[in-house]
Structures are given as C-alpha cells and as structure tokens.
C-alpha cells in the first residue's frame, strides 16, 4: 500500500492553499484556452512557463498540467456551440455535438461532455497512480544504451506520426536535434555553432523557441483570414445540462471504452488526445446498432471522444514522468518547463523528487473535480468569452508571449529567438512541416547526444551495443520499425487499390 501512502503525501502537498490556488488558476486558464479557438494548449503552457518561472517547481508544474488537461474540457464547448473545434482533440465532438445543439439539445451535449471528461479523466489518473511507479522502478536500471534507444524511440514515434509527410516529419526532428547542438558541448566543454554570440553559449533558449513556434506562429496563421463564428443560441439552465436516463444508457458503453482506449493511446508516444478521440469515435460507430445515425446528433458520439481525449491527457503523463519521454508537443513543453526548474523527468524522479510527482498526481484528482464544477454550472460564463473577437485577443497573445519570454531571464535576446522561431514556425505551417518534433528534439537533444556518446565510448565505437543489450535492442528495433510503418501503410494501400481495379 505504498502507493496510497505516496498519494496521501501528494494530497497534503496539493491541498496546501497555494497549490490549490494555482491548480485552480491552471484549470481555469486551461478551460479558457480550450474554449477559445485559435489558441491551443501548447501555446497556453508555453506562455505559462515564464509566468510560473518564479514559483517553486511543484506549484509551477501543477499549474501548467492544469492548463493541459483543462483545455480538454473547454474544447468541447466550442465544438458543440460553434461547430469549430476549440482544440484539435475535440474535432470529433463537432460531428454529433453541434448536431445536438441544432436540435435544441446543446444542454445535454455540454453536460455529457463535462461529465464524461470528468469520469475518464479521473479513471486515467487512477491508472497513472498505479502504473507510473511500477514503470519507473523497472526503468531505474537503464544505462546509456537503453536511454539512447528510449529517446530515439520517442523521437521516431512522434516524427513518424506527426503530419502527413514522413520526410518532412523527420526533417523537423533532425532540425530540432541540430538546434539542440548549439551552445557549449556538455562533454568536452567547448562551444559550437555560437556564431560569436555569448547569448548562445547556453544553447538556443527553449522558452523562446516554444513560444515562437507555437504561440506566435499560431497568431500569424490566424491573422491571415479573420475567423468566422456562427453561434447556436441556446438558453442554458443548470437543469437543462443534465443528460436524461436514455442519454445515460446510450453513453455508458462509449464512456468506458473511450476511457480505456484513451489512456493507452495517451501512453503511446506520438499518438495523444487527438488520435484517441478519433479512434473512440470510429470504435463507437463500428460497434453501434445504428451507425447511420452518427453525425446526426447521437450522444454517444460526444461521450466517447470527450472521455478518450481526457483519458489520453492523463495517459500522456506516464511516459513523461517515468521515462522522461514526452509524447506530444504539449508534453514536450511541460518537460522543458520541468528541466528549467532543474527537475529531470525519468525513472529517478520518483526517488529524487517524490513531492513533485505525487503533488502533481494528487493535484490532477483535485483539478478534475474543479473542472467539473467550472464546466457544469459555469458553462454560460465560458460561452460569453466566445464573444470576445479574435481581433482583440491577438494583440494580447503577442504581448503576453513577448513580455513573458523576456521575463524569464530579463533578456531581450530571448525575444529575438521567439521572433525568429515565430517566422520559422509560420513558414513551417505553410509548408506542412510539423512543429512538435522540433520542440521535442530540442528538449531531448542533449540527452540523445550524451547517451549516444557515452554508449559508443563504452563499446569503443561499436554501434552493435544498441542491439546486443535486450531492452535497448527491443526499443531500437521498435523505433526503426515505426519509421517504416507509414511506408508499409502506403504500399499496402497502393497494393490494395491495384488489386481492386
């Protein structure tokens, strides 16, 4: 019952007035970011790094994680009322949620979205509390070759799954790794690629890159064409939000399937909340007795994906905390934030900083309760935020980003990095290069390089070390296979098409 004991300690930390307050702020901000189209969780977390910089690590990570899973709640509101997904993870919710709203059933749709988010979110945190320590114990014995294989696998999975083009995904990842090489080499202590600038000795600032690539680039894409918003006007009373008995009967199966599916998809690096909600919707449609009704406003089409994306957010914390492998852009930014606070996620985290891990996990239980309260009775409040035009939001996002980046180090050079990263990020979006692998590679880069060079030093330059140690062999093979998976899929498709003709 060691875990119960850890959890109790965690709750003692999370229930302190300060942490409770910041958890509340995090989930509130997360809901807001989720509600507003055109600003996503990555942007929210990236902007919060500098703002929470002065806090202690536990409070900072509690706040930022709150934004992450809070956004999963908020995203559904916009999907249901506007037919515009607040986040990419709530795209599936637009299909049946908006149709329900058109039929005057916006209330139950919003209610079911919040309730299923809560149930699935809590389920995934329970899973996280039990699985994470076990996995961490297992990974403690990892040496440099295992670490290299692990980070390599994290990178290949994310680059393989991000975007449409495999070549472009890998190029993004390699570009991020090259960026990570800038600065003083950790092993020899000599500088490289600094172009005579003392500011680059510490490397390319992570915060500037993350805020530029996500927040600024997002603004630039959105400013091209003004967003059009069409409201479904509905009166929302507290009573109208509760799904009726039939709604429950329809949703229960979708909800538990979505929860389980979402958690395991979330654990897998590279997949995450969006894929989870996608899979859940597809599963429900397949299992349904009336698949033809999907897309016309069936409540299980809301319950399943909304449960799955919340469960995935909890699942994504597993590889981040236990292995130090973030599986998505948002968790990569979270990891960068932890590193800035001097905390290295990984198997040792549970021994070295139990207060951070268990404080965070406990805060997630509390955060989900807070979110349920925020999203059920107060849903009207969030709807009114949707009436703030993007025109006014845009200057706010830019100035908060710019001042925030400055504030971390009182350094204008970091603002220039953000500026450059913003332009690069915009061009990348236009050319269909995914941005997440860059940030992921920048965060993992130093670890990749250190473990690679240490491994090759151990083996006297023999590359077979990655294939002769069992764990590292499995991981490396899996990583290489995952790179070829899209190719196999492509060939399979052409093959099938050829056969059909």
């Amino acid at each position: 019952m060691e875990i119960i004991q850890h959890l109790i300690t965690g709750f003692e930390i999370a229930l302190s007035l300060k942490n409770l307050l910041f958890c509340f702020m995090g989930v509130t901000l997360g809901t807001l970011i989720g509600v507003l189209p055109g600003i996503g969780p990555v942007t929210g977390v990236a902007i919060l790094i500098p703002i929470t910089f002065g806090l202690d690590a536990t409070t900072a990570i509690i706040t930022m994680a709150g934004v992450y899973y809070g956004a999963m709640y908020g995203g559904s509101t916009t999907s249901i009322l506007l037919n515009v997904p607040g986040e990419s993870s709530s795209v599936m919710t637009t299909l049946d949620g908006y149709q329900m709203a058109l039929k005057g059933r916006a209330g139950p749709a919003l209610g079911m979205a919040a309730i299923s988010s809560f149930i699935a979110g809590t389920f995934s945190i329970i899973m996280l509390s039990w699985i994470a320590p076990v996995l961490a114990d297992f990974a403690v014995a990892f040496g440099p070759p295992e670490y290299f294989a692990l980070t390599f696998m994290g990178l290949t999975l994310v680059t393989g799954l991000a975007g449409d083009s495999l070549i472009k995904g890998i190029m993004s990842g390699v570009f991020g790794l090259l960026l990570a090489c800038v600065g003083v080499d950790a092993i020899s202590g000599s500088p490289r690629f600094i172009f005579g600038s003392i500011y680059l000795l510490d490397g390319v600032g992570f915060i500037g890159v993350a805020v530029g690539l996500f927040a600024l680039a997002e603004v630039l894409v959105n400013i091209e064409e003004p967003l059009k918003q069409v409201f479904v006007n509905t009166k929302l009373s507290m009573k109208s939000l509760f799904p009726n008995r039939q709604d429950w009967k329809d949703s229960v199966g979708a909800l538990w399937r979505g929860s389980i599916l979402g958690f395991f998809v979330g654990v897998l690096p590279g997949a995450g909340a969006t894929v989870a909600s996608f899979l859940s919707y597809a599963t429900e449609k397949k299992l349904s007795k009336h698949p033809e009704k999907f897309g016309t406003g069936v409540i299980e089409g809301v319950a399943g994906p909304e449960g799955a994306n919340n469960s995935a957010a909890g699942g994504a914390m597993v590889p981040l905390l236990t292995l130090g492998i973030p599986g998505s852009g948002t968790t990569a930014v979270l990891m960068g934030a932890l590193l800035i606070h001097g905390i290295r996620p990984g198997p040792l985290l549970f021994q070295e900083h139990p207060e951070v891990v268990w404080g965070l996990i406990a805060s997630m239980y509390i955060g989900n309760v807070l979110l349920l309260i925020l999203n059920l009775p107060l849903v009207g409040l969030w709807v009114s935020f949707l009436k703030v035009p993007y025109k006014i939001l845009m200057p706010l996002i830019i100035t908060i980003s710019a001042v925030g980046v400055f504030a971390t180090d009182n350094n204008i050079f970091d603002m220039w990095i953000m500026f450059g990263a913003g332009i690069v990020g915009y061009v990348m979006r236009k050319l269909d290069f995914p941005a997440a692998p860059v940030v992921l590679a920048l965060v993992l880069g130093p670890m990749v390089e250190r473990s690679l060079r240490q491994s090759l030093t151990i083996s006297h330059g023999d590359i077979s070390i990655f294939f002769t140690r069992p764990i590292s062999a499995v991981l490396t093979t899996f990583a290489l296979l995952s790179l070829f998976a899209p190719l196999v899929r492509k060939f399979w498709k052409t093959y099938r098409r050829a056969k059909m003709e």
């Binding site: 190029m171 064409e225 050319l431 030093t457």
Partner: protein, 151 residues
C-alpha cells in the same frame, strides 16, 4: 505545393552542407569516444539525404496542386505587418521602455493592422498594457525595460 517543396529541398540541402562542413572541422573523435563534431556532422548528412529525398519526391509527384494554396496578398500583408511591428517593438524596447512601446504596438496592431476604431484601440491598448504591468512588474517582480525618464 510542388514548387514550394522543391525550393525547401534545395534550401535545406545547402543548409545541411554548411552544417556538415562546419562540424567536420570540429573534433570527430576524442580519446575515449565520439567528439563534439560527431553528432552534428551525421545529423547534417541525414538532413542532406532527406532534402534530396524531398526534392526527388516533389519532382516525381503527379499533381502539383495538392496541399495548401499560397497565402493571398491580403494575408501576406497582415502577417508581414504583425512581424515587422514586432521586430520594431523588440528593437526599441530597451530605449523607449516597456510602457510606451507596448501601448504603441498594441494600438498599431488594432487600429492599423486590423482597422479597429482608434478610440477603442487606445482604450484596449492602455488596459492591456496596464494589466501586463501589474502581472509582471508588480506581482511577478520582473524588472521590465524602462526609458531614461523611468517608465
């Protein structure tokens, strides 16, 4: 998209060759293992291969139309104005000070870039700059840049 990918492929090929050349000059091997030029060199080689693949893939592609359309001139104007304004904002921040430059930049974004009414822009700008000041300077105790007059 085809042309864009071809150009990207060429630009990235040149970039990776420069990186490869630079890192080749760094120590590739030290006494007990790979040196600091080792990883960047091989990354650059990989990047060069990928660039050639992208170039090849784009040239071989059947349809040229797939992908996002090129941004309209209106879109480019908006994006360019936001970026240019931000560049000026960062450049003058240290001498003009946080308060003045932020008020001006936000008014510029609202009134000039997005054709919002001047009065409304000015009010929003003053409020948001004030808000940022309270959050960062007062609550988070960050020393925001000041001009010679102290604001």
């Amino acid at each position: 998209m085809r042309k864009a990918d071809q150009i990207t492929g060429i630009v990235m090929l040149v970039f990776s060759l420069i990186v490869a050349y630079t890192s080749w000059q760094m120590p590739q091997r030290v006494e007990f293992g790979p040196g600091m030029g080792f990883l960047p060199f091989w990354l650059a080689v990989l990047m060069a291969v990928l660039s050639v693949l992208l170039l090849f893939d784009a040239t071989m592609r059947k349809s040229a139309s797939a992908g996002k359309p090129f941004p309209t001139s209106q879109a480019l104007r908006n994006v360019g104005m936001v970026i240019a304004g931000l560049g000026v904002y960062i450049a003058v921040l240290d001498t003009v000070g946080f308060a003045v430059s932020t008020v001006l930049y936000v008014v510029y974004l609202l009134a000039i870039v997005q054709n919002e009414r001047w009065l409304k822009s000015a009010v929003i700008s003053l409020l948001s700059t004030g808000g940022l000041y309270v959050v960062f300077q007062v609550l988070l105790e960050v020393k925001l840049p000041q001009n010679i007059f102290g604001f």
